[in-house]
């Protein structure tokens, strides 16, 4: 048996069981964790001013011998928020929710635009978060560390931090149909490309409706995507269509699309379950995550294999609802408290996470807004005991002090709905539509 112990193991073993934050800091984080994560002296900056409070540490590797992060403090790459062992940050504890909120605030603060990673730890639990644009999401579960696993855990963090995937994968999902998932997906892709200059891939994973593929006037695939998902070494490039618009007599490429596959519409679900796993799409997308900034998946309005694969492949889930459709709100709540956690258990890495819901494309009067709020309050009241965290997905701006119950909303606009006839996303054809979806992109994704 190997009897040698590592620095991390020794440090953890010698920490008092009730070690306060400064003890954890001096005896565990500074002497061991930073080094194990691959950061040297001069590459970590204590009490870093984020622009919205001070985070315990900001870290960045020095680019060359003239660069010294501790002197310049510019372009932090990783933020770390520490707690003492006296503060419980086990998953779903009050301490956990509050430190995660704190970390998110710092990551999104003005001096931390460059930050891509966040870590929370109290030396009992540790969790790694990724920031992509404006989105902060977990990439590991909140893990319990002990001398037996600490080296492995920190090593896996180092590996992830050194190789951030370029793409954010977003599933657009609501179990209720007719809430504008497809419209949201294509218009979001348009503005991310146009306003954000991002490289975007859109996947039509709703084989029965094929609305997205049709709305862009693209041809359906005839089994290629199914082959890509079920076979080893199958080629994805042959599944990708370019969505381009003819502009001044030449085709300009806008974004890439994997159209709906006829095979999925024609075959039966039992057969697909025999050849595909719920995580097949997630695994297969790994190979193209460095080619795109965003991968948007349009998912079917049910909880069957394709929606499950879409949610499993996603980092975050965007949930359109209609303020005047109670079922769309109830289904959003159901997805957040039941379906998404099922996938989280399957994946075991803390993901995916839902983004706060938004109201999509209906005229809303102050009276209707109040009615919608009443309906949401009723949904929240019913599930309060089991899911106290559901509230943040409906009222993200509400805090203990602020009663701001604003829900982001895309206004009603005839040209958005009519755009499907023209086979061009409204955001490309129409300034107003473009501005609405640019707002959506900025609210959720673009920093």
């Amino acid at each position: 048996m190997n009897m040698t112990t590592t620095k991390l193991q020794d440090a953890l073993r010698s920490l008092p069981t009730d070690a306060k934050e400064p003890i954890v800091d001096l005896n565990f984080v500074v002497p061991c964790v930073f080094e194990a994560l691959g950061f040297a002296q001069g590459e970590f900056y204590p009490q870093y001013v984020t622009g919205d409070g001070s985070v315990d540490y900001a870290l960045r590797k020095n680019i060359d011998e003239n660069d010294n992060f501790i002197c310049t403090g510019t372009q932090p790459y990783l933020l770390m928020e520490l707690k003492g062992r006296d503060i419980n940050i086990a998953p779903d504890s009050t301490g956990y929710n509050s430190v995660v909120k704190q970390l998110k605030r710092y990551l999104l603060a003005s001096n931390c635009h460059s930050a891509q990673w966040g870590i929370i730890t109290n030396s009992i639990h540790i969790q790694l978060f990724r920031k992509h644009g404006k989105v902060v999401f977990p990439v590991t579960a909140c893990l319990e560390i002990n001398p037996d696993n600490v080296d492995e855990v920190i090593d896996s963090f180092r590996e992830k931090i050194a190789n951030p995937s370029k793409a954010l994968t977003v599933a657009v999902y609501n179990n209720k149909g007719g809430v504008g998932k497809t419209t949201t997906t294509v218009n979001l892709a348009s503005v991310l490309h146009r306003a954000g200059h991002k490289k975007v891939l859109v996947i039509d994973l709703d084989p029965n409706q094929q609305d997205l593929t049709n709305s862009l006037d693209l041809s359906l695939l005839d089994g290629k995507f199914y082959t890509f998902l079920s076979e080893k070494d199958a080629n994805l490039q042959s599944c990708i269509a370019k969505y381009s618009i003819n502009y001044k007599n030449r085709d300009v490429d806008f974004f890439d699309v994997i159209p709906a596959d006829k095979e999925f519409a024609e075959g039966d679900e039992t057969k697909f379950r025999q050849y595909l796993r719920i995580d097949s799409l997630r695994q297969k997308l790994e190979c193209i995550k460095s080619d795109y900034d965003y991968i948007l998946i349009d998912s079917p309005p049910n909880w069957r294999i394709f929606s499950q694969m879409a949610i499993c492949a996603a980092d975050v889930i965007l949930i359109p609802t209609k303020h005047n459709n109670i079922f769309s709100l109830e289904n959003a709540a159901l997805a957040i408290k039941k379906f998404v956690p099922e996938i989280q258990r399957l994946r075991g890495d803390g993901g995916p996470v839902p983004l706060p819901v938004f109201f999509n494309g209906e005229k809303i009067t102050p009276f209707q807004e109040l009615e919608a709020q009443k309906a949401i309050d009723e949904i929240l009241r019913k599930s309060k005991s089991e899911n106290p965290n559901l509230r943040q997905y409906f009222y993200p701006k509400e805090t203990k002090v602020s009663k701001n119950r604003e829900i982001f909303s895309i206004p009603s606009y005839a040209n958005i709905a009519n755009a499907a006839f023209a086979r061009i996303p409204a955001a490309y054809r129409d300034k107003t539509a473009n501005s609405y979806y640019t707002e959506l992109a900025k609210e959720y994704f673009l920093q």
Partner: protein, 228 residues
């Protein structure tokens, strides 16, 4: 709650995702000839391999290893499998159900019929080392031995004078019997059980029961004393 796992599902898995597990000692002829048959007549193994999930995209055969070996010999890229629970008991039962392991019975508590059936099965095996033993005698002596429920090993059987001697014969019994012995009672008075202890152990027992032990007492005397 609805579950998203594949446990219970029939899936067509890639061969290279499946570990062979314990392997099979089926003769090569059977494997190769069956592989040829499969290739000639069917492209699908309608009798599935039983696997458990051991990691991401990783499975291990727990039953129907023969089918797996045939699929490999036939050069199949994918093989039909049933995904079983990844527990030891599922693996144990799968092996027995697939006919790859012999089910064992608890000899400590087995009924006469069970003992008789198990011994008959062993004697009927081709080349059985137990051929020639008097089955009826063996069944009787094993079943009736009052110490059976306390046996920690099968060796007391060799003292039953039923033709089962230590070595190959006794080893053969291990295929079908396991023991889950009861603890000895606080006070043992049954002479046959007392006989299985050494003189020193019997003396200690007598001392514990505060019986006067004559200095010259031998084992038979002690048994007599303790069973009185």
């Amino acid at each position: 709650m609805k579950t998203l796992t594949d446990v219970g599902n029939l899936m067509c898995l890639h061969m290279d995702e499946i570990e062979p597990g314990e392997g099979t000692d089926t003769p090569e002829f059977l494997i190769n000839a069956t592989a040829k048959l499969l290739n000639q007549k069917e492209e699908r193994n309608w009798v599935p391999v039983i696997v458990k999930e051991i990691g991401k995209n990783q499975y291990e055969v727990i039953g129907n290893t023969f089918v797996y070996a045939v699929a490999e010999a036939a050069g199949l890229e994918r093989v039909w499998c049933i995904i079983a629970e990844p527990t030891d008991s599922a693996a144990e039962v799968a092996k027995v159900l697939a006919g790859e392991a012999i089910p064992q019975i608890n000899l400590s508590a087995a009924t006469r019929d069970e003992i008789a059936a198990a011994l008959k099965y062993l004697v009927d095996q081709p080349g059985s080392p137990l051929k020639g033993i008097k089955l009826a005698v063996a069944i009787n002596r094993i079943e009736e031995d009052p110490g059976r429920k306390y046996w920690k090993t099968l060796s007391p059987i060799t003292k039953l004078k039923c033709g089962i001697t230590a070595g190959k014969k006794l080893d053969a019994l291990k295929q079908v019997f396991y023991l889950a012995p009861e603890p000895y009672p606080d006070v043992i008075t049954e002479p046959a059980i007392l006989e299985t202890f050494t003189a020193t152990e019997l003396k200690a027992m007598a001392k514990k029961r505060e019986l006067a032990v004559p200095k010259s007492a031998k084992k038979p005397d002690l048994v007599k004393l303790l069973s009185a």
